[in-house]
Structures are given as C-alpha cells and as structure tokens.
Symmetry: D2
Subunit: 334 residues, 4 copies
C-alpha cells in the first residue's frame, strides 16, 4: 500500500489543477492500494456561510487534484482500473455555494446573456459520518433536512491524448471532472491510458450530490480515500467505463447534452455487443430496453451523462478481465 | 366509472394522432375513473419480426391516441390530475424496431447527415403478465434475456396552448410523447389546462422502456388501463408534474437536451420553494443536492428529462391539494 | 391580380396566428399576383417608446398573418413558388423592443434560469422609404444612426404536415417564422405543399433586421406587399428553398442551431447534386468550399440558418423549372 | 522584420500541434513584421487524389503550427494585435477531403451514431495565384468550376488560460482553430494574452473556405504570410476580436452552436457599448438590427460563429487604440 498525502499548507499555486502537464508525485504498482486524501474543490478556503469563493479563492486555483501518480507499466492502449475501496469525509463539514455565472440554472460564460448574475451564497453542511447524515440548513428560513451521506469523487482521470493539458474543471475521454454520484465506494473506474505511466489523479470529493449537480457545487469536502489500482493491458476504452456489483456503465462528456448521451449509449452498445457476442443492432435493441441514464452534471465545461445496464441481463460475461472482483478483494484487505 | 374503447377495426385515418384538433369522444367527471385501452404506436399493424413498420404503417398514422376526453369543468389555469391506477399489457406480445433515421444513435431528419440509414429490423417480445417478464430474443444469435415487466404510457396529454395542434409524436408543456418510464401505475400526472374541457388523451403503451428510449422504440404494446381523473382548480402547472408515493417530479421537454434539463430543474426548484416556503436560492441548493435526473427520451421531436426529489426531504407538505392520495384511493376501488 | 386586405379594426382574436387550422380567406390562381398588406407583429398596438408589448398585446395574439390563401390546384408533393415583387413599409414608423425572457441574450422559457428578466424597453424607428433609411435613436443617450432600409417578411408559409397547426411564432419545414433578411423583394421562396390548396400566409414585416434577430424583435412594421405566386408540380421540397438572381438557398430550422445548419446544408448538397449531376460527395465538397451561411434567427421556438451557393459555380442549370425568372417577369408587371 | 521558416523536413513529431505547451521559436518586438510560412493541415503529406489522410498522416500530427513566437512585453491582460498583411498560397495546389467521422454532415466522435462513416475521398485543386482562381474538379464526373481565390488562416492563437494546452484542432477564447474566412489579408485579429510572452502561433492556410467548412476540410495549402504584430496594453479581450476596414467583429466558439452565437453577440454588444457610450440595452438594440452573422465552422471540437457590425453605424470611434490602421501602414511597407 502506498500512503501519500497532499500538503494543505502549500501555496495554492503549488497544487495540481490539471490532467496532464504535471510531474508524477509517486509511483503505483499495478495490483496495489493507494491510501491518500484529497483537498476540497476550494482548497479548504471556504468554511463558513460568510465566505464567498469569489473573494477567497483565486479562480486559477480551483479543484486541486491529488496526484498525478505514475502507474508502472501503463502504456497507451491499456486501461487503468481504479477501484474505490473507501471514501470518507475527512472533516465534519461540507460546503456548497452559488457561483456567479456558473451552474445549470444561470447564464454562464458560454450560455452568455446580458442578465446580471444570481447572488453568490454559501451553505455549510454538518457531516455525521457514523450517522450517515449530511445536514442541509437553509439560509433564509429555519428549514433543515437530514440527507443521506453518499460520498463520491467528482474527479478521477489520467493525462489526455494529443499532448493536451486540461483543467481539472473539465471532463472528457480521460475522465476528469465527470461529477457523477456513481463514483462512490464499491465502483471500479476504467480509464484508457494515453501516455506512459497514465498519470492518474483524483479529487473533488462530495459528501453527496444530486444528479446534474444543478447549482454547480455539490456538498464539497476533503476526503480520506483508499483506491485499489490495476492495469488491464491492451483494452483501453475510448471513454470511461464504470463497474459495480450490479451494473456496467459508460460516462460520456460533451455539449450539447445529447452528445454526452450519444457517446455514453453508443459506447455501452458496443461494449454489450463485445461482452455478449450480440450483433450491433441486437445490442442496440437490448440497451434501448434496459438502460438507466442518470444525468451526471450539466454545469462543467462539458456535460456528463451515465448510461448503465444491469449485468443480470447480459448472461455470464467476463468484464475487463475480472478486474472489479480482483480489486474489490484487494480493497477489502485495506 | 367510464368505460370507453377505441375501435381497432376503424380505418387508420379514423384514429386520433394529435393533441388538440379533435372533437371529444366522451366526457369525464372530475373524481371519476376511466377504464379504457390504447392501441400500440403502430396501430397493431406490426406483429412479427418479418413486419417492417415502414412497409405496414402510413407515417401519417403513427401513435394513435385514446381520447380526447372532455373533463367537466376544466378551464385554462386549472390542472387535470391523472392517476394511473393500473396499466396492463392487453396481449402477450410487444414489438420494437429500428426505424430509418429515427432514434438516438442514428442521424435523423433534424440531425441530418449524408450517411445511409441503419438497417430496419423488428424485434418481438413475449410478455408474461403474471410472471412479470418481458422476454428479449436477439435476431442474429440465440441470445435471450428475461427483463422485468414495467408497463407505462409514453403519452398522456391535453390540448396545447396558442391554438396549436401537435402530433402525438411530440412532447411539450401539454404532456404528449414524454416517453418516461415514470408514467407507470401508481403515478399521478398533473397537466396544465389550456382549453375548456382540457381534452385529455393517452396512448403509446410500453411493456418496458430504457431511460432515453435509445433506439426510439420501446417494447410497444396495446394496454388495458384504468385512470382516476380529477381537477385541481387554479393551479395549472406550466410543465407536467408527476407524483408517486415517494417523489415529486417535473418533466421538461426541449432541444437541446440541456434545455429539457433546465426546464425540469427550474420548475422543480420553484415547486419546492412553493411547497416548503424556502427562498428560491435555498430551494435551488436543496434540489442541487437531492435531485435524481433520469433521462426520459432523446429521440422524439423534443427530448424529455425528469427531475425528481424525495418527498422525505421536504418535510410535511401538501402537494397539489392532496390529489395523489385522493385518486390513489379512488383507483383502489377499480 | 388579387387585392386582399386584412381588417386592422377586427378584434385581435379575429386575426390568424397559426399556419394550418384556419379557413382560406381567398383563392389564388397559379401564375397570378397578390397585392396585399400585413399587420406588424404586435397588430399595430405598440407605437411609442412608452408602449410595452407585455401591457398592450395579449400574448395569444402575436404575429398576425395575412391569409391563408387557397392556391388553386396545389396538392401534397407540389411546390408553391412565392416571388416577392415588392415589400414597402406602410407607415413611416417601425418599432422594436426587448421582451421579457425572449431573445438570444437572455434566458427564456426554454433556456430557463433563475435570473430575473432584462428590462422591457421599446424603440421607435423613423422610416424614410424614398430616402431608403431607417433611423435608430438610443433611449439612454442622444446617439442616433441612419441604417439602410432593407424590407423583408419574417414569415411566409403553408399549412404544416401531420395535421399539425403551428403558431406563427415558429419556423419549420412549412416555412413560417424563419426571420431571415433574405426574404426581401427579388427573392422567390419555394414551399412544399402538405395539404390541398397549400394554405399560404405571410406577415411579420421588418424594415430591416440583423442576422440572428438577436434581441428577438426586428424593426417591425406593417408592409404593403406584392407577391407573384405559382405552382411547381411534383417537386415539393422537404425544406424551404429560396432563389434570387445570384444564389440558391435553403432555410433549415431546428434546435440546437447546428441542426438548423445541418438541415440547410444537407438539403443544399442534395439540391446541388440534383441540379448539376454531381455525385453526393462531389456536391458535398463543392458546397463546403462555396457556401455562405448567414444565421437567420436564434430567438424563435426553433432557430433558422440559411445556406446558399452562387448560381455561378453550378454551370448552366434550370432551377425549379424556371419559376424565379417567370415570376420575376410577372412581378415586374405589377 | 523577422524572417522565420518552419522545417518541412523535420519529423512530424518535431512540429508544434498545440496552443500552449511549447517553447518559443523566436521573439517578436511589438510594432514589427513577421515574414514566415505555414505547412498545410496535413503537413504536406496529402498531395494527390490517391492519397488518403487516414493512411498518410498520424492523427496525432494534424494541423502543425508555425510558432509559438514570444511577443516582447506581452503580459496577461494585454491584447496581441495580429494584422494579416499578405497571405499567399505557397504552391499551385490545394487539397481537400472527407475524413471518416469528421465534418458537419456525418456522425462524429461526439455526435456518435452506429452508422458507418462516409467514404474517404481526396480532392485536389489547382491554385492560380495571379489569376485569383481555385479550380474545383469533381471526382465522379467531368464537372469543374473556377472559384475565387480567397486565402485565409484557419488558425491563429496564443497560449490558453488556466495552464491548459489545447490541440491546434480546437478553437476557443485564445483563438486557435476558428476557421473563419474573415481571417484574410487586411484583417487585424486581437487576442487576449494569458501568459507572459503571449506565445503566438498561426497555421492552417486555406486557399478558400465556405462558411461552416461543411465537410470539415477547406482548400488546404501551405501559405506564405506576412503579419504585422503589436501589443495593446491592458485591454485584452475575453474572446478574439477582428477588425478590417469596414467592420468590427467577435468570434465566439462553443457547442452547441447557439452558445457560439451568444458569446459572439454578447461580446459584440459589450464592445459596441464601450466604443459608443451607449447603454447596454441600447447597444443590444443597435446590434440586433445591424449585425451580420456568418457561421465560421460547424466541424471542430467547438464550433465558431462571427458577429460583425459596420463601423459606419458606430459614429466616430477609436477601436483598440488605432492598432488596425497603424499595423496596416506597417504591413504596407512589407
């Protein structure tokens, strides 16, 4: 097991805010565990309802990532398998906010209008890990609500193709800021490798998140996380694949949102055909009747959609060389 | 209880294929039951894997509707509440197909390309109502899969505003072809009334459907359906609202898909604010952390997205004057 | 020549606000002239900078159309050719405005956000027909600018297919609210006929309009208009085609805007192939290097894009049976 | 004047294919000329109708750029002004092609469908510089057409913000692959500086291009180009601004295409307000009636739209400190 910690005292400029473009911080052996933690998307600088991110965080320094890690032996064309063994809020507090010209229900720097921004506000959530509760408290009335704790990582990714370096605010074929609640403990994420060593990073912990991350900010918190990492040689997927005990999934990221849907479903149809031996049209038909399609985010620089089918409809199949079961067992030993 | 039956022997041109534009077939009293059935989207003319819809169905005569029914006392500004008490496949068979230039994973008459169409194929599903099973059988290999029966209506709607008459292939603020699996037995749908009498119709039964209805065609079948209908005076919603025992929901329909998302979420935020007394920004925040957002369809002339929140996070609220509970009790007497 | 006049004193509810769904007001013989006029989009009820459309116009009664006219002998599959012989502002005044939640640079009822609307304002333009000038005057400063007069019709269309009735605020395959400055005197518009008699209407005069109609409202004015109308049997185009002395054009209308682009270009490629005998890929190549693509509107319920190529690159071709030249000659006799 | 030449014999991997991420090749003094040339988008490796790009060009090595050049004194917040003094095809031949799953009238890696790709073909154009002609020759028939020569650069850009490195196939706020015919000799392009030295590059010459670059490939050719470069301190625009003798313009790049439109128009409205002293709503109104909006490209990873207004409607204004006139004079001395 590799234990690696970010330095929260470092100058913000000293953290990593991109996929690609940074030197590796450590090396991971395939088939091993990484025990680490991640800063929240604001680098821990927003902690009270009186804190406005726009005043406390340099916009160049949002969404710091833990990593990148060099995965030994990873070559373009391989898949890195990242199994989330445990994801636990590090502190008893999470924060959310509205951000000027960011979010699904406001005009933005792309869906540009002449209207003024919505008011910037900050919400603070109590997190009760043993109780499994995230407590919402309204700002303008005494209303509160206890929501189920459901920790996840908004970001996990590798270096992009074509020599690009992409902001950690962006999702894509390399993973990145997909912001799907499916990225919870128990899920294995398969990412196609674009550069030697893969350059794996993760961050952007959420104590919970609605599907779509509508206001653009989930219940953001630092996370203690253990991942089990492996390499599946020669089967690098074009887009991120996920697997849990019951479903296989693909995450598509693009704009407009229907293109994210098309990517997720077209890749899922091809994967189902490959797993089952079905013809492409037969797989299209089976996916059409069995898919669940939860929206992931409609706020990032590209939007993300998850397409998933139950393993139960696929018959006896071997998914990604059995990496999920293997890493689950490895993670269980953490 | 009103018993009304379509005439399946009628000339295809004798069925109704629009929302708006047709004379009422019967009158419904608020607080009463309607026991009826609906033809499948092909008017029952596709029943074998050797049948191609393009050869057997005039494209002007797709998706026949049962109705419209005049709802007594319905005036613009009211809501018609339609509770699905039971939805049962009428026959032991459902069909699906690929349709040239229709569906999410093909170019279409709008997302127009120069590529040839995908091959037109028809799949036939055995439906075992007592067993709760819909049986998929591949065309190009011996693969089969038993899928859970989950009957629903693709369409339910009223006459549109602005004097428009809209094809039953289209969803919108009036309901119509929303194609969401949430429209199952146990759900109440609230539709804003645009014309006196509301002019309620329904159809397009699906034995089951994946989220997104990816190939454009679900497991289509004729349905025996009982609905309990009521009127909620003076609170006609701008977009269709749904309610079941655990969630409130809004269906947004538009292109691009993010606009369907925006409509569903903005209307849900406003509804949550109205129910709870939360400020708009507090409601935005609560929805952002608690919403589920299953895609409904990405194939119709406009796309549909469902946004839903659990009632459990709203505290003690009274939804649409308690119509859901009232109609559920009424439906239970069917 | 048929002379037909709308009745501006009629109750607003007495005007026609749809394509389809209205009885014909008169009959046109192919190869004849129609001399008529059209009310402005506000029915003449906004005439001063102190008038707000939201206070003076019932939103059900926007964009009144002159017509529909029954075109003798028009059958589904034919094209109606409408040549604009002259378009002249009827009064010395035009108006424009911002409309709450309507326009390209504001959130709308579809691109829905939680932001408040932009302020509603009305601008009045002096129109000097002999001088060819439309005079802009700022509301908040003394700035003025003389703009070239360039009269056009925002709407021209026939009854839609599938038994639909569509608002005159909407463009589509039947024409309608395309809002392109190309619809000026000298242009011939070809519309595919969907119902016997075609049911031709026109309206929504603009003294001038920018490409995109960005704020959603052009320099709106009543228009004195003469059109020459003919029938081209058996060649009804799927989408509106335009022709002037130098270019052939197609107008595509859809959302997102790239689908409007795809429709316009795919139909233009097919048309060029048909005219020149080029293979589809050769026509794709030729259009790719020679097309002009002015945006028409990004504000209506669907957006419109024009794709056009110079006739000069096509060699000697006969367009739509020579209807443009024939109607131009006919119009010259008005 | 700086004379700098790319090395066409270098290993493809030795060229630069990104904005950002590369060391400067030379230093430019503000107020000076750069005399250089650019390879075509295929690096000169496609020269015959028998050459298929997919077989001759490594997809990692498309669209090589000349540069980046360090602009002396350029700091974040400044604008680099790049005036195209002359753009001349270097050879008597240009090429175009269809590329599998790339272009506006095909499904792509984002607008993903299950259809097979269009056939890959290559067209070769004779370029007659003195005659001002680009000669189209069909592949499947003897048809030819002489098209006007109208040389332009598809790409010109600086290093992006947020530490990103972006492929030269992508347009954005930093410029890049905007693919607009407006980038011709006589135009000045203003780019906001994101990093010290700006890191200016250019490439992707087109002998001519239709608006939209429909098939995804213009008449590609190596270009001999002279640019006059200056720095405008402290007024770095958020999005690329263009100026020629008659118009000011903004290029917006995003998906869906309406967001590119919104960016271009919102930035143009703000610029017009700033130049004229008009209020924002008055400027919105003026732009709405006077803008031209030619589509640039609907094929790249983001799409681009140009919004432009004639200087003549703005009154006497000073644009970007008079850089256009100053650089035009400088370029005239080349």
């Amino acid at each position: 097991m590799l234990r690696w910690e970010p330095d929260p005292e470092a100058d913000p400029a000293g953290q990593v805010y991109t996929f690609g473009g940074a030197a590796p911080v450590a090396t991971l052996a395939p088939g091993s565990l990484l025990d680490t933690w991640t800063l929240d998307c604001f680098g821990g600088r927003v902690t009270s309802v009186d804190h406005l991110a726009s005043q406390r965080v340099d916009p160049r320094y949002l969404n710091p990532q833990t990593g990148p890690f060099w995965v030994e032996g990873a070559e373009p064309g391989d898949a890195v398998a990242v199994h989330f063994a445990s994801i636990t809020p590090r502190y008893a507090r999470g924060v959310s906010s509205t951000v000027p010209f960011f979010g699904a229900l406001t005009s933005t720097g792309r869906t540009m209008t002449l209207q003024p921004a919505l008011q910037e506000r900050t919400w603070v959530y109590e997190i009760d890990v043993p109780g499994g509760v995230v407590r919402y408290a309204a700002l303008d009335s005494p209303f509160t609500a206890d929501l189920p704790l459901d920790p996840m990582h908004g970001t996990v990714g590798v270096a992009p193709p074509l020599g690009e370096v992409r902001s950690s605010l962006t999702p894509g074929s390399w993973g990145g800021n997909m912001d799907t609640p499916e990225m919870r403990a128990g899920t294995t994420c398969y990412l196609g490798v674009n550069v030697p060593g893969a350059m794996l990073s993760l961050g952007d912990g959420h104590a919970r998140q609605g599907e779509g991350e509508t206001c653009g900010v989930a219940v953001e918190c630092a996370m203690d996380t253990v991942v089990a990492v492996d390499l599946v040689k020669g089967v690098g997927p074009a887009w991120p694949r996920l697997e849990d005990d019951t479903h296989i999934m693909v995450v598509g990221s693009a704009r407009p949102l229907e293109d994210a849907f098309r990517i997720a479903h077209a890749e899922l149809v091809a994967w189902v055909a490959e797993l089952t031996g079905l013809s492409l049209l037969d797989a299209y038909q089976l996916v059409s009747q069995t898919a669940l399609t939860p929206v992931a985010n409609v706020v990032d620089t590209d939007y993300s959609v998850v397409a998933k089918v139950p393993k139960s409809v696929l018959g006896a199949v071997s998914v990604m060389g059995g990496a999920h079961e293997r890493l689950q067992a490895l993670g269980g030993r953490a």
